[in-house]
Each structure stands twice: as structure tokens, then as C-alpha cells.
Subunit: 521 residues, 2 copies
């Protein structure tokens, strides 16, 4: 290419900055970006049928690749459709670069049908938002977007590209910026926390974010062994390394009552790339702040800090043993028999989970025992719903599979949440991604049946119950998956489920196993 | 009820103000609203599996019921998921009252997972946004929201309800406000336009919004007969009354080149509840403003004006004939034979469209000949995509069917657009709605294949083509529909399609006919 247009310079810059995958749902205003995909061979375009799939896939991709993907979205409504999963990424500090097409600069004045205030929508999820007006600026803006997204901590950066800034000539490729690194935590902070941990007062190390990786966990385990500090992890996390040979990390419970129980009795709570724990929702007459009264909160490492180095320095400072003595032992449960329940599904997963698997977990109420049954499986990564906006599991699994083509991805997916972004199955089929989805079919928004009582609402009325019920008609996820081109089967007993899961895991490419949870409906 | 909580007062007020249908996709923060549905028997709750279905259904409902429905959405991400169809409603001036749940007022400070700036998201689609802090205020705010939504012109009003404002006692029901009426157009305006129309200079009456109803069309036809003015309608309209015995109205073409052709030669363009015509997108080296150079633009009636009365007064002022001489004659095409093409599908629709049917049209490129073939069918309503945000057709049809249980609804749905809100099929099944969906399966984003060339992008690259292609794998909409509980069949010839359509129309309840467009894929 001798003369580039703005779109070509944009894509070339993205690739030069390490962003070589774009999850796209384009429209007319993005056609020059789409055409330019063929001019930059290194950029891979992955089509999604719905923007929430594109943004969630970018999230899952970045969790595994440790660098951002781009999304390509169509004006304000396209960004709106992608907002829920961008919200989840923002809460998890996962880097994403959104490219949002807009009308040509001179067209905005006419208030055409698709005209709307895109930057306003972006503000909900992005602290970095830029609109480029000229083709000369797309490269610089793209390099800025990647840098800002990459952090640390990761961010959702949104670049709004009017169509004429893409189609006009004069595009200029920008050089990659020097990547920022995580900040070193001050020695005094580490010394202070070391002193407090050695005081003998009941303490907990509360881990999140980057502290869920193997090396950080090992250091945390050594600190716990030396000081008696209790390890606890944030309830929802972008990525946890776990399994045999890795320090396990108990998670704070979702339900505030149980979480408060777990946190009671501590005098010190030490945050390691984690937020001070609060309840997910507010409930009448229950506290939102879950820190026990009288407990002091300390910060070892904040979002942009080097939590791994801080934990290792802290381990040193408390004279921790050289190796972590509490690594998870290897071990799998037996293949389950009998009724198909969340518990027997967990057993089957524990029996079969492949080494190096990536688990995208949006099983919600059906998933409570999964962690227990898979604790001794070979090392694997566990990706959770991070911002509470459901519809994340299938897209995140899709993006993770694009990032890691040599690893098996397992989507553990509740029925209600699946239906926000079910179109992800088609992208899995098109790209031939090695994703096995376990669809927990309990025919209800089960979590809301629990929450209805917990918020103190009287739960008796038939109209209220109907709002939480997904039967009438029952959904047939085998049929839906096949409609999207993904092979699928249904299991109604533990034995059947184990056989179907084993087969799905053995074959490459996408598959779905619908697990009909017993005793319901 | 003696003592009400905020949610009960809110729902009671909505019902008292004429809003008795709520399209809901609730979460924990909306549980008190959900519980209160049983306390106000007149309020109907309709569950959607995805927020874009809820907002699009509210749009379709209001187009037919001529009063707003409510939506119930779950915080910022829920509103985000509903944004695209709210955008469409805003552009069409369709009234909607959004109820968006939020965390309890005191919980916001903790920045819990689902915390985000809801009002900012709402600003993209709502000019009226209110957050209520106390249960005493939910009733007043609801009455304000309904009044503001109802207009005229209609608006999207968004009421943000923190959970504690719903669950606390002390709710107060508010009285309905006096409804605003459409403003009478000044006599001088009418006289001025009458004078100009009688001048003999080439003029066109450009109709939109409320001018697409039978009475307005009849007046426009009389004016045309008396003055030689040419009638033309906005391309995209919320609701058009059409068919035998109604003045037909040719629409401005979507493609700007054709639209400019239609508008060339006029000296005067008279807006009747319409926006001055501009191209949908900008294209390199093509004008965005479609008004011919030298043409004067006049406004007979703006959005909030009484366009019907203005047209009738104008007819009077130009001494128009008492009755409209150009009403559409009755007539249907023969049942088609041969290949299944957009044209033969149009013939089948023309042959079979039931009297009083409601057509929700998101057929995009496949629908170009539908208007022609159905012009002489018995009177029916035609609802179009209004804001360019695709994924509107199935939800709008769903809402229209809720509003008009005694009328047959036909969704004419392109494949690509269907996939944004395909979950609407489940709501149709649950509610037993009398909706027949014709799914035009052409295995592509056909419009984008056209647009790629029109924007001047070179269309050759394989990666670009892949972004516009919906095969690999082909989607099976029969399977998907059945998975959502809707009976479905596939047609590959014109004869087959006509038979399937006839059967679907004859039976009550939802059905889908997948039309495999010939010569593709």
C-alpha cells in the first residue's frame, strides 16, 4: 500500500500495536473498515451475529491472550447492544478496543435515522473515548486506544470513527507506544502489612484480579503458611488458575449472609488487586458493606500495581517457606450415577475436565458445587461472570477459544443467561472453535426465585412467579443449537450426561450438551 | 391495599394513567416491582428473554394501541440491551415508559458489580429521565413519565427506580394528568401553503408520522386531486394504514440515488409531520440532503401538530373534491408458482393477507416488491423499521399482537436482522400470540453487499465478503423457532410457501415459515 485511507491506517496501526483480532458486527458505516481487512493480512475478522457476542468475545479473548482484541460496532445502537458485556469487561479491568463506526462528519447535521449521541452511550463503560474527524488521525488514535486499553489496569477504550475519516485518503500509520508496566508497591507498604500479619491478629488476604494467577497464589499460600492469614478470593474474577499443584483459593460467597459469615472475626483485611467486599445487591435491613465491624482494611496492591511481586516480597518479609505447602492435590471424583443434578454434573466435570481446559462459567445457581468437584483436576483456567450482566458465558468462551486454539474450552451455561447471547453458538460453528457447552436447563430464572424472597418481597403471587419461570413453553436447546449449526444432544441422567460430555470433549469443534436438571418442571 | 410500598404506588399510577401492559426482563433490583404485579390486577406483565425484545414490543404495542406500554429493565446493562429498539421508537416518536431498576440509593456508593451510570445510557434515547429517591415520589414520577411519553409527539421517558424507593412503605398514587392534544396549525400557514399549491408550480406533499392514517391520507388525496401536488411518504414509518379503499402513498426510496430522482423537479416540498428528506447514510461524493436544489421546503404540520385537521383544512382551502377520487381499488394477485423469490413471496402475501392484518416489516432487501403486491388487499396496517437499528421486526410484531389480540399479525423478517432479537419467538409462544412470521432466508447481510459497493469500497476481498455472509454454517430457522416453542416449516418453492403461509394464517397462535430464497447460497 502506498497511499492508505483512514481505515487501512487504523487497522495497520492496530496490528502493529499487537491487536490482530477483531470481533465484528458491521453495518454500512463500517464498510471501509471491512474492505480494509483484506489489505492487512495479519488482522483476523471474526463475525458475530449480535454485538453482545462481539464484545463478550473480545473480553474472553483478552482474558486469555493478555492483550486486547478490537470490536467493530455499528453506531450508537450497535454499541448499545454490546454494552452489557462491555460493562462486565470494565468491572473486570479487561482491556478492549472498541471501534464504533459513525456517520460521515458532515452527515451528522441531518439527524438521519441512525444518528445518535454515541459518546454518551460509551461513557457508561469507557473512560477513554475519542472521535476522529480526519483520516490523518485514525492511526494515532488507534495507538492511543490500544495503550489506554492495555493499562494496567485494563480498560475499555472506545474509538468512534466517522465513515469519511475511514474512506478518505491520507491515513497515517502510528507507531506503537511504549507499554506501561505494573507499578512496584512501596517497601514501606509491604513492611507495614508484614508487621500486621505477624502480630497474630486474625487477618485475611483478599485476592482479586492479577492475584488469581499461579505465581501469585503460590506466594499467597506461603504467606498464609507463615502467618496464619486466611486466603479468600473475590466472588467474581476474570481468570483464575486452578487445579492440581496450584494453591487453591476459596471464594467469597455470592449471598451476603454467607459472605458476612466468612468475613466475621477478622481484625485485618488485606486487599490484593481486589475491591473491599460489598454485597452484590442491597437487601432491606442488611448491610451493603461486608467488612466486619472493627476490621481494618489495608491495600497491598491496587489495580495497576504489580500484585505478584508484592506478594512475593511480602512472603519474603514474613519469612515464609520457600515453597507453598498447601498446593491442591491431584484427584478426580468418580463418574457419577443416578439423577442429573448440579452436583452430579459437577462430578462428571471433575471426572472428565481436560488438562489445560478453559472454563467459561455462567452456570449461576447450578454451578455452586463445580469448584469443589474440579479442585483436583489437572491445571486449568476458570473465567467467571464479572459484572453481573448476564449473557457473558457463551461469548467469553467463544473469544477464549479464538485466543487459544490449542486448548479445550468448556462453557458452563445456565439457561436463562444463555438466551441473551445465544447467537455466539453460530460464531463457534463458523470458526470451528473447540468449545463444548454444557447447558444447565432448569426451566427458570432460579436465582430470581431465591432473590425474590431475599429482598423481602412476598413471593406468593402467580403473576410474579410467571416472571421468573422459563417453562411454558419449555425451551429446546438442542434444537436451538442445531439451528445455529452446532451439534447437540440432551442428557437426562448422570450416566447419559457423562457419556455425552465425554464424546463432546473427545471431538474437536463446537458441541452442546443440554443437561435436563432433575426434579424440576 | 391500605399502605402501599413504592412499587405498588408506581404500578397503580401507571394503570390509572392508562398504562396497563409491561414488557419485562427483570432482575433482583426489580423484584418488588415484580411482586407488586399481583397487587394491581389490571397490570399485565409480559416476560421477554432479552431486553431488546421488551423495548421493541413496547414500541409495537404503542403503535397499535395508541398509548404507551411500560418496559421493566435491569439497571444499566439491561437498559443497554434495550437501547437499539428504544432508538427506533425515539426516531418514530412512539411513546414508551421505561422503568429501570437500580441499586438501593445507599448502595450506589459501594460501586457493586452492577453499578453504572444509568442516566447517561438513557440520555441517548430519552429526553425525559428521572431518578426517584423515595417511595413517596414513585407515583408522581410515573404520572409525569406517562404524560411526557404520550406527548404529542410521543417520546421515550425513562424512570429510574432504586430498589429501596420500591420496597419501602409510604407509596402515594398520583392522579393522571390532563392529556395534551395536538396543536392546531395556524390558518395563515394553511392559507400560505394553499396559495403556493394553487400557483401551479410543481409541488409535493411529503407525509410522515400521523399523516399515514386513513383520514389524513384521504385529505391528502383530495388535495392532490385539486392541485396536482404529488404525494410522497417518508421511507420509514411507524404505522401506515393501507389497502383497498384507502389513498395509497408511494414511499421515498431507501437508496439516495433513487430518492433524489423521485424528488427532482419540485419547486415546493410541503412537510406534513415529516422530516425534510436526507439520505440514510452518507456516501462519498453524494449529497446527504435529498431536497432538489431550488426547491423550497414548507412545513404544514410538525411533530406535535394536528396533521389530520391541517390536511382537511388545506383540502378545504384548495377547494378539493368532497371525496378522495384516488382510493386504492380492491384486488389481489394470483397465487404464485415456480421459484421462491422475494417477488413470488410478495405475490403469495398479496393473495392471502387477511383483512385487518398488522404487518411488521423488517424484510429489508427481500421486501422491495411487497408493497406493490399487497396494495389492493383488504385494509391493513404496515409497521416499518424506523430508526435503522435492526432487530425490530419480531419484537414489534410481538407487541402489536399483545395490543390487538383480535387481529392477525404478520412478521416479514430478514434473516440477518432476525438474529438480534430472535428470542421474541418465545414470548409469542408463551403468550399464545397470533403471529405468523415469514423468515426470508437469503444467507447473507444482502443489504451490506449492496452498500459495500455504494460507499465506494472495493468489494473484492475474501475477508470482507466473509463479514457479509451468513452461510457457513447455514442457519436453520425452523429448528431455532421450534427450540423457542414456535411451530415452523420450510418452503423452497412458491407453491410450497403459499400452502405453508395459508395454513399458518388459518391457525391461531404463533408459527414461522422459513422461505428459502432461490438462486442463492
Amino acid at each position: 500500500m502506498t497511499e492508505m485511507n483512514g481505515a487501512q491506517a487504523l487497522i495497520r496501526t492496530l496490528v502493529d500495536c499487537g491487536v490482530d483480532t477483531c470481533f465484528a458486527n458491521p453495518g454500512t458505516s463500517e464498510m471501509h473498515f471491512v474492505a480494509a481487512l483484506d489489505d492487512v493480512p495479519e488482522m483476523r475478522g471474526v463475525l458475530a451475529l449480535f454485538e453482545g457476542v462481539a464484545t463478550g468475545a473480545a473480553d474472553g479473548y483478552a482474558r486469555m491472550a493478555e492483550r486486547p482484541a478490537a470490536t467493530l460496532l455499528h453506531l450508537g445502537p450497535g454499541l448499545g447492544n454490546g454494552l452489557a458485556n462491555l460493562h462486565n469487561a470494565r468491572k473486570a479491568r479487561v482491556p478492549i478496543v472498541n471501534i464504533v463506526g459513525d456517520h460521515a462528519t458532515y452527515h451528522a447535521q441531518y439527524d438521519a435515522q441512525l444518528q445518535s449521541d454515541i459518546a454518551t452511550v460509551a461513557r457508561n463503560v469507557s473512560s477513554w473515548i475519542k472521535t476522529v474527524a480526519r483520516p490523518e488521525d485514525t492511526g494515532e488514535a488507534a495507538a492511543d486506544a490500544v495503550t489506554r486499553a492495555a493499562g494496567p489496569p485494563g480498560e475499555v477504550a472506545t474509538l468512534i470513527c466517522p465513515a469519511d475519516a475511514c474512506w478518505l485518503g491520507g491515513g497515517v500509520v502510528a507507531a506503537p507506544r511504549t507499554a506501561a508496566t505494573r507499578a512496584k508497591v512501596d517497601d514501606e507498604v509491604i513492611e507495614g502489612i508484614a508487621k500486621q500479619l505477624r502480630s497474630g491478629e486474625q487477618s485475611t488476604l483478599f485476592l482479586g484480579g492479577s492475584a488469581f494467577r499461579e505465581r501469585a497464589l503460590a506466594a499467597a499460600g506461603r504467606i498464609a503458611a507463615a502467618t496464619g492469614a486466611v486466603l479468600l478470593g473475590e466472588t467474581f474474577s476474570a481468570r483464575v488458575e486452578r487445579g492440581a499443584g496450584i494453591q487453591p483459593i476459596p471464594k467469597l460467597a455470592y449471598f451476603a449472609e454467607m459472605a458476612a459469615q466468612q468475613l466475621s472475626g477478622f481484625r485485618h483485611l488485606v486487599l490484593v488487586d481486589a475491591k473491599s467486599p460489598v454485597s452484590f445487591f442491597a437487601y432491606p435491613d442488611k448491610p451493603s458493606d461486608l467488612v466486619a465491624s472493627g476490621c481494618e482494611v489495608h491495600t497491598l496492591a491496587a489495580g495497576g500495581d504489580d500484585a505478584v511481586a508484592a506478594l512475593e516480597a511480602l512472603a519474603e518479609a514474613v519469612d515464609a517457606p520457600e515453597t507453598c505447602p498447601t498446593l491442591a492435590p491431584a484427584g478426580r471424583p468418580d463418574r457419577p450415577t443416578g439423577d442429573l443434578t448440579p452436583d452430579t454434573i459437577g462430578q462428571a466435570l471433575g471426572a472428565l475436565l481436560p488438562e489445560n481446559a478453559i472454563v467459561s462459567d455462567e452456570s449461576t445457581t447450578s454451578g455452586l458445587s463445580l469448584g469443589h468437584h474440579t479442585a483436583g483436576c489437572p491445571p486449568h483456567d476458570w473465567l467467571s461472570l464479572t459484572g453481573g450482566a448476564i449473557g457473558q458465558g457463551l461469548p467469553v468462551g467463544t473469544g477464549a477459544a479464538v485466543a487459544c486454539p490449542d486448548r479445550k474450552v468448556l462453557c458452563l451455561q445456565a439457561d436463562g443467561s444463555a438466551l441473551y447471547t445465544i447467537q455466539a453458538l453460530w460464531t463457534q460453528a463458523r470458526e470451528g472453535l473447540d468449545v463444548t457447552t454444557v447447558l444447565f436447563n432448569n426451566r427458570s430464572y432460579a436465582i430470581l426465585n431465591i432473590e425474590l424472597g431475599r429482598v423481602g418481597a412476598k413471593a406468593g403471587g402467580p403473576k410474579a412467579r410467571e416472571m421468573l419461570d422459563l417453562s411454558r413453553p419449555d425451551m429446546d436447546f438442542v434444537s436451538i443449537a442445531q439451528g445455529f449449526g452446532v451439534q447437540a444432544s440432551r442428557a437426562t441422567t448422570a450416566e447419559e450426561f457423562t457419556t455425552h460430555l465425554e464424546r463432546a470433549l473427545a471431538e474437536p469443534g463446537p458441541a452442546l450438551v443440554e443437561a435436563m436438571i432433575s426434579g424440576i418442571g
